[in-house]
Amino acid sequence: MTNNRVTASSITRRTFAALAAGVGLVAGLGLGQPAHAADPIRIGELNSYSRFAAFTVPYRQGFELALEEINAAGGVDGRPLEVISRDDGATTGDAVRVAEELVSRDKVAFIFGTFLSNVGLAVADFANQNKTLFIAAEPLTDALTMAKGNRYTFRLRANTWMQVGMLVDAVKESGAKRWAIVAPNYEYGQSSAENFKQLAAAAIPGFEVVAEQYPALGKIDAGATVSALEQARPDAIFNVLFGGDLAQFVREGNTRGLFEGRTVASLLTGEPEWMLPLKDEAPEGWIVTGYPWEQIEDAPHKAFVDAYQAKYSDTPRLGSLLGYQLMYMIRDMLAKAGSTDTEAMIAALEGLQIDTVAGPVAMRAADNQATMGAWVGKLTVHEGKGRMVDWKYYDGGPFMHTEDAVKAARQD
C-alpha cells in the first residue's frame, strides 16, 4: 500500500513537472517574436481524431501531404509551414480550450479544422471573440456562414444548402412529386430536410411531402422507419441518413422493396467515407452527392490521387481531398497576405481565387463561403463496390445563398 502510494504521488509530481516545464517552454518561445526568414509559420489545427477517426484521419493525411509538398517547394516566401494538430475532444468545451491553447500558448498565426457543426460554431465564436482567423474544415451547417457567421470565420467545403441545391437540380426532372423525407434527428438532418422542402418546392411543380421520419442519430429503428415511409406510398425519397443508420436503412429498404420504382435522392452517400462500408450493398440507382475520385481524369487530380496512394497505401476519401485543398488554400492566402497579421490574412482570403486539383474555387467575401462544388451522380455497384456513374461536377457558385439572403441572415 505504501509503495503504491509513493508510485502514485510521483506520477502526479511528474505530471505537474511536465506541465510546468511546458509552461516555461512555451513562455520562452513566445518571446522570440521577430521572425527570421527561415522561421516556420505556425498554424494551429484541431479536429475530432479520437472520436471520428474514420473521417478526420484521411483529412489529416490530406493536409499533411499538401504540407509536405508545399514545404518541399520552399514554403511561403521561404518560410516553411508548421501545423500543430490537436484533438478537439469532439465537444465544444474541449475544442474551445484547445483552440485557446493553440493561440495563446503555441502562438499560432491562425487555426483551422473541426468536424462537428456545433464544435465548428463554438470555435468560430471563439475566433470572433479572440480576433483570430478560423477556417472550418468539415462542418456543413449553413449557420457557420449565415446566421452565426462572423468575419473571422471562413469555410471551403460546400455547405448543406449548396449540396441540397445540387441534388435537387439533379432530380427535378425525374417527375417525382410525392416525396418522403428521412433524416437523422439533429441539426444537420433537420436543416437539410428544411432546405430540401424549400428548394424542391421552388424547382418541382406540384411538389409535396407525404411522410417525414427523424430517427435518432445512431439509433434508427430501421424496420419501423421503412414501414412508416412505405405506408405513405411516395414517388420518391430524400435521404439524409448516413453511417450505420444508412446501412440499416438500405438493408431493410432493399429487403422490403421500399426503393423499387422510386427515385431516391441522398446526401453524402457517394462520398467514399460513407460508401465504402456499404460494399456491394451500395444502393443502386440512388442520386447522390459524392466523390468519384477514381474516375476523375484531370491531370492535377490524378497527381494528387497518385501521391496520396503512394504515401498512405490507401484510397483517398473526400476528407483527404478537402484537407489537401485546404492546405493549398492556406498557402495561397499566406502568399497573398504577405504576413501572418490577421487582418491581412482576412483581406487576402476575401475574394481569393484558388486553383484546386478539382478546379477553380473562389472565396466569396459576403459570407466567407467558398464556391467549392460537389460531384452528383448515380450510384451503382461495380466489382463489389459502390461507384458513381453519370456524375457531373457542380460548381458551387450558382448554388450559394443569394447575397440578399446572406445580408438578411448575418449579424455582422
Binding site: 502514485a8 463554438a122 435518432a216 412508416a228 440499416q248
Partner: protein, 622 residues
C-alpha cells in the same frame, strides 16, 4: 392505417424489442447478483458485434452456409463473455470492498479503453457484416414483404427469455443467482463461493451482451459508437422492467419497441425522448419498475459509513491557504493557465454540489449534468432572449437550475436506491432532449454562441477573480453546510432512514432541500462555465457530463468534505494533460482512472485521511 400495416408495424416493434431485450437482460442479471451498475455493458455489446463480423466473415469464407454463420455468432458471444469474466476477475473483484459506485467508475474506465481498442484493432471505418445465409430475403405477410431475419429476431427474444428462465429455475447456478438477487443473507447462509458465482454471472451477462451485438451483424455495421447508442436504452429497459427481473426486462422491451414503432407515426421527432419519457412515467407510477422488488441497493451502499472528520482550525487554515494561493495565481500564470484554473474551479463546484447528494445525502444521482446544463442555459437564454447583462444572467443560473431541481426533486425523492438514480438520469435526458429539440429557443444541437462576460469581466484575470469569488463563496457555503443542523441530519437520514423518521426527521424533505441546494450550486457552476467558453450546446447536459461529475466526486472521495474539489481539479488537469499526447488519449485516461480506483479505494482524499488516521497522525486537514 389498414390492418396489414398494423400487423407489420407490430412485428417491426417486436423485432426491435427482442434486440433490446437481449442487449438489456445481461445487465439486469449482473445487477441482480453483484449489484454492479455495469456501465461497460454497451462496450461488450460492441465487442460482440465486432467479433461477430470478424468471425462470420472468416467462417463463411471457409464454408458458406448457415452453420458457419451461427457458429460465428455463438463463438462471438462466448468470447465476449470471457472478456467480461476477465474484467470481473482482474478489476471489479479488487474493489468489491470499496465504497459504493466504485465499480461504476471502473466500468466507465473500461468503456474508454474498449472504445479506443476497437478502433485500434478493427479500424475506424464501419464494418458491414454478411447477412445470415438462408435468411436474406423476405416473407410475404399480409401482402407486405417482411425480412426473414427480422422474423427470426421476433422469435429470438422469447427464446432467450425461455432459456434464461430454464437456467435460473432448473440449475443450481440459477438457484444461486436467484438467491443472490432476492436474499443476500440466504446466499451467505448457503456457504456459496461468492467469487465464483460473481465471475460466472458477469460471464453470463457479458456473453448475452455479446450475443445481442453479434445478432446485429446482419442488420447494421459494427461501428465504434454503438456502445453509447445502446447503453442508455439498455439501462432504461432494465429499470422499467425492475432491476434484476429478466421477465420485467422483456416486458419493458416489448413496451418500448411497440411504443417506438407506433409513436414515430404520430410524432416523427419523438425518437430522442421516447424511452426516457416512458421510464420517467413508469417510475413515477411504479417506483420499482414493472416487476421489480423494493429498493435493491447499489452494491455496498450501506458499507463504510465512515465518520466525517471534524472541522477544526487546521482545516480552516488549509482552506485559507488554498484560497490565498489561488488569489495569487494570476501573478505567475498566463492566460491559458488561468482558463484551465477557471474550468477547474467550475468543475470543483459542480463535483462538490453532486457530493452533497452522493456523499452526504446518500442519494445517487446519475443526472447531475441536468442542473449544470440548465444553469448554463438559464444564463445563456437570459443573455440571448432577454438581453440580460452577465450579472443578471449569472443570478438566473442558480435560480433556474435550483427551481428545476426542486420541481424534479419532488418526484425523485419519492424513490430510493438505483431507481432514484435512474429517474435522475431520465430527468437529465429529458432536459437534454428539450435543449436539443427546442431549436427556436435553444438553438438546438448547434447551441447558442456569443455568451461572453460583461466588459469589466471580459479580461481573463477579471473573470478569473469573479469565478474565484463566486465558486469560493459557493464552495465555502457547501462545505459549511455539511456541518450545520441541515447537513448533520441529512447524513443521519443517509445512515438510517428508519431511525431518522422515528425521531421526526422528514427524510424526503431533507433530500429535496439537498436537491434544490445541489441543483442551485451546480447551476451556478454552469453559469460560470458558459461565460468562460462563450457558448453552450446540449452536450453539456448529456450523460458524459454526469459521469464526469461522478468520476470527480468518487476519485476525490465522497465520504470526505473536500475530496470532490481535489478530484475535479485533478481529473480536469489530467484530461488536458493527456489529450495532446496521443489520439488514444481516452485509453490513457481510462487506465489512469483504473489505477486511481485501485490505489485509492476511498478516493484520493478519503484514502489519505484514512491513512493519516491509522498512523495516529489524525489531525490533518479533512
Amino acid at each position: 392505417m389498414d390492418l396489414s400495416f398494423l400487423l407489420i408495424q407490430t412485428l417491426n416493434g417486436l423485432a426491435s424489442a427482442s434486440a433490446l431485450f437481449i442487449a438489456a437482460c445481461g445487465l439486469t442479471i449482473i445487477f441482480g447478483v453483484t449489484r454492479i451498475v455495469n456501465f461497460a455493458h454497451g462496450a461488450f455489446y460492441m465487442i460482440g458485434a465486432y467479433l461477430g463480423v470478424t468471425l462470420a466473415v472468416r467462417f463463411l469464407d471457409f464454408s458458406y452456409g448457415a452453420p458457419s454463420f451461427w457458429a460465428a455468432i455463438v463463438l462471438a458471444a462466448v468470447l465476449t463473455g470471457l472478456l467480461g469474466a476477465a474484467m470481473e476477475m482482474l478489476l471489479l473483484r479488487r474493489i468489491y470492498r470499496a465504497p459504493e459506485l466504485f465499480q461504476l467508475l471502473a466500468t466507465f474506465a473500461v468503456v474508454l479503453i474498449v472504445e479506443d481498442a476497437v478502433i485500434w484493432l478493427f479500424g475506424a471505418q464501419d464494418i458491414l457484416g454478411p447477412r445470415a445465409p438462408g435468411l436474406k430475403g423476405a416473407v410475404m405477410i399480409a401482402g407486405e414483404r417482411f425480412p426473414a431475419y427480422e422474423l427470426l429476431l421476433v422469435a429470438a427474444g422469447p427464446a432467450v427469455l425461455a432459456a434464461i428462465w430454464l437456467l435460473l429455475n432448473r440449475t443450481r447456478f440459477g438457484i444461486l443467482v436467484r438467491a443472490a438477487t432476492h436474499d443476500r443473507q440466504m446466499l451467505a447462509a448457503l456457504g456459496v463461493n461468492q467469487a465464483v458465482l460473481f465471475t460466472a454471472t458477469v460471464f453470463l451477462g457479458c456473453a448475452l451482451a455479446g450475443l445481442a451485438g453479434a445478432l446485429q451483424v446482419p442488420k447494421q455495421p459494427a461501428t465504434p459508437h454503438m456502445d453509447v447508442n445502446i447503453i442508455a436504452e439498455a439501462f432504461v429497459v432494465t429499470v422499467i422492467g425492475g432491476m434484476g427481473s429478466v421477465t420485467g426486462a422483456f416486458l419493458a422491451a416489448v413496451l418500448i419497441g411497440l411504443l417506438q414503432a407506433f409513436g414515430i407515426l404520430v410524432f416523427p421527432k419523438i425518437t430522442l425522448v421516447l424511452v426516457f419519457l416512458v421510464m420517467a412515467v413508469v417510475l413515477v407510477v411504479r417506483p420499482w419498475g414493472l416487476l421489480g422488488t423494493p429498493e435493491p441497493e447499489i452494491r455496498g451502499e450501506a458499507a463504510l459509513l465512515v465518520p466525517l472528520r471534524r472541522w477544526d482550525r487546521k482545516a480552516t487554515i488549509g482552506v485559507a491557504v488554498v484560497f490565498t494561493l489561488l488569489a495569487l495565481y494570476p501573478l505567475v500564470a498566463d492566460a491559458f493557465a488561468l482558463k484551465l484554473a477557471i474550468e477547474a474551479m467550475v468543475f470543483a463546484l459542480f463535483a462538490l454540489s453532486l457530493n452533497l447528494l452522493l456523499g452526504h445525502g446518500g442519494v445517487i444521482s446519475f443526472g447531475h449534468a441536468a442542473w449544470f446544463g440548465l444553469g448554463a442555459y438559464a444564463s445563456a437564454l437570459a443573455v440571448r432572449h432577454l438581453g440580460a447583462p452577465m450579472e443578471l444572467a449569472l443570478l438566473a443560473a442558480p435560480l433556474g437550475a435550483g427551481l428545476c431541481a426542486l420541481a424534479a426533486g419532488w418526484f425523485i425523492v419519492r424513490l430510493s436506491g438505483v431507481y432514484l438514480a435512474m429517474l435522475t438520469l431520465a430527468v437529465a435526458q429529458l432536459a437534454y432532449a428539450v435543449t436539443f429539440q427546442w431549436v427556436e429557443v435553444t438553438g438546438g444541437d448547434n447551441g447558442l454562441i456569443g455568451i461572453w462576460p460583461s466588459q469589466w469581466a471580459s479580461d481573463r484575470i477579471a473573470y478569473y477573480y469573479l469565478t474565484l469569488a463566486l465558486t469560493g463563496i459557493a464552495v465555502a457555503f457547501l462545505i459549511r453546510l455539511v456541518f450545520t443542523p441541515f447537513g448533520h441530519t441529512l447524513r443521519a437520514a443517509r445512515d438510517s432512514a428508519l431511525r431518522a423518521e422515528a425521531i421526526g426527521i422528514d427524510v424526503r424533505r431533507q433530500r429535496l432541500a439537498a436537491f434544490a441546494i445541489a441543483g442551485s450550486a451546480a447551476g451556478l457552476a454552469g453559469g460560470l462555465y458558459v461565460f468562460s467558453k462563450g457558448n453552450i450546446d446540449p452536450s453539456v447536459l448529456s450523460i458524459p457530463t454526469s459521469v464526469d461529475a461522478l468520476a470527480m466526486a468518487l476519485l476525490g472521495g465522497i465520504r470526505t468534505v473536500t475530496g470532490p474539489v481535489v478530484g475535479a481539479a485533478g481529473l480536469h488537469l489530467l484530461k488536458d494533460f493527456v489529450m495532446p499526447l496521443t489520439d488514444y488519449w481516452r485509453t490513457l485516461l481510462g487506465l489512469t482512472i483504473i489505477a486511481l480506483v485501485l490505489l485509492f479505494p476511498g478516493g484520493i482524499v478519503g484514502t489519505l485521511v484514512d491513512f493519516l488516521r491509522r498512523r495516529g497522525a489524525g489531525e490533518g486537514a479533512p
